[in-house]
Assembly symmetry: C2
Homo-oligomer: 232 residues x 2
């Protein structure tokens, strides 16, 4: 038996969403069937996207502190329900005794192979390129939003979720999805953990949506069940 | 700056509900405004209600293990979003360096003083009597559900939430609330952290509902903000 370690707080609502999905995906009839989890929410980690774009403080020391805290609690697996943080995936993995699941790998593995996908993520994550690399390895064509138009809506959507306004965030996301559909996308990757919280308030216009939070939770549950962490 | 420590997993959905309420109650415009939290979800703690009724394994060693884990993470406050566990409040407080908020105190302080209140909780919590003691100290008359009828519905409601069935749980709760209203109750204390998850699916029939999860979250946020834990 071991704990799933969650490095959370980026943002806090996305961490709650991850935990809700983890609980919902665990086959359970009573408390005792569930998986042991340690969550550290570290809201004070400097903005990840700004740092990648060269406009903010380096979040790596704070992220490593969180990883160290989880490893001190003896977790057997680490998940980070914040896509942009995966820019530092290699450094964080090197600093962690417990393996770290990769959110973009989890999400991309659910994209229908070969069907054009639109990547919705922070500007930092898109500049980092880890979603693009995973999709290329998955042999699937992709687009990213136009920076002066669609990406502005994605930025607004993320900001609105982080400030507790999911309904206007949903309206922003819906405008992006309409444009994506017009451009021929079949699938949109909600590649920032704030976006699934907005998607609840958006019509999806026949697009397949890949929820990176849900896919990370699915991988974590599979990993833990395979190892019997739900058994005393 | 310090962490709010959450001893969770009892049940897991109630812990997620607590975290969602903590995030919603925190005044914040961005990630960095939020409060640092460590959550340990320990689903394998033996059934608290059964133990109080002399029908199950003692959960105190597992609860103390969770308290120790949180204290090792250097939390400044502990909350336990599981009412029944408060039967062992004194023992857990004695074992914790960080103070522990009392969920029944948090909930009872929101009951209109002097207005008849119905306590909805597990059979174990009712047998322990901590809600009754808090209400007596608050000079407020109270009732508890009839054991062969209303309490059966409360038990079913809690069990259904723990097995992921909130809608039928809501129907059970609503039947209890209708009976409570007929008996002259003005307020019902949702004194088990599963019950607010059912209340979403129940008509409240003009009763004031006191959500013990929400009140515990409110006290935790107040405690942390007073101490500036939201500031870097």
């Amino acid at each position: 038996m071991s704990f799933i370690g969650v490095l959370g707080g980026m943002g806090p609502a996305a961490t709650v969403d991850f935990m809700a999905k983890l609980v919902a995906l665990t086959p359970a009839c009573c408390d005792q069937d569930h998986l042991p989890v340690v969550v550290v929410t570290l809201p004070r980690v400097p903005d990840r996207s700004a740092a990648i774009l060269g406009r903010g403080q380096d979040p790596l020391p704070a992220l490593k502190e969180g990883i160290a805290l989880l490893n001190r609690a003896d977790v057997g697996l680490v998940v980070i329900p914040c896509s942009t943080s995966h820019h530092w995936y290699d450094e964080l993995s090197a600093a962690s005794h417990a393996p770290i699941l990769h959110i973009a790998r989890a999400a991309v593995s659910r994209v229908p192979r070969g069907e054009r996908a639109l990547i919705l993520a922070t500007r930092g994550a898109l500049a980092s390129g880890f979603f693009q690399r995973e999709l290329a390895a998955w042999e699937t064509p992709f687009d990213i939003p136009s920076p002066d138009d669609e990406q502005v809506l994605v930025d607004d959507c993320i900001r609105l979720i982080k400030s507790g306004q999911p309904e206007p965030a949903g309206a922003c996301l819906e405008r992006v999805l309409v444009k994506a559909r017009t451009r021929g996308a079949r699938t949109a990757i909600l590649g920032c953990t704030e976006l699934p919280l907005a998607a609840v308030y958006a019509e999806r216009h026949s697009l397949g949506l890949i929820d990176c939070t849900l896919e990370l939770a699915r991988c974590a549950v599979e990993y833990a069940l395979q190892r019997g962490w739900n058994c005393a």
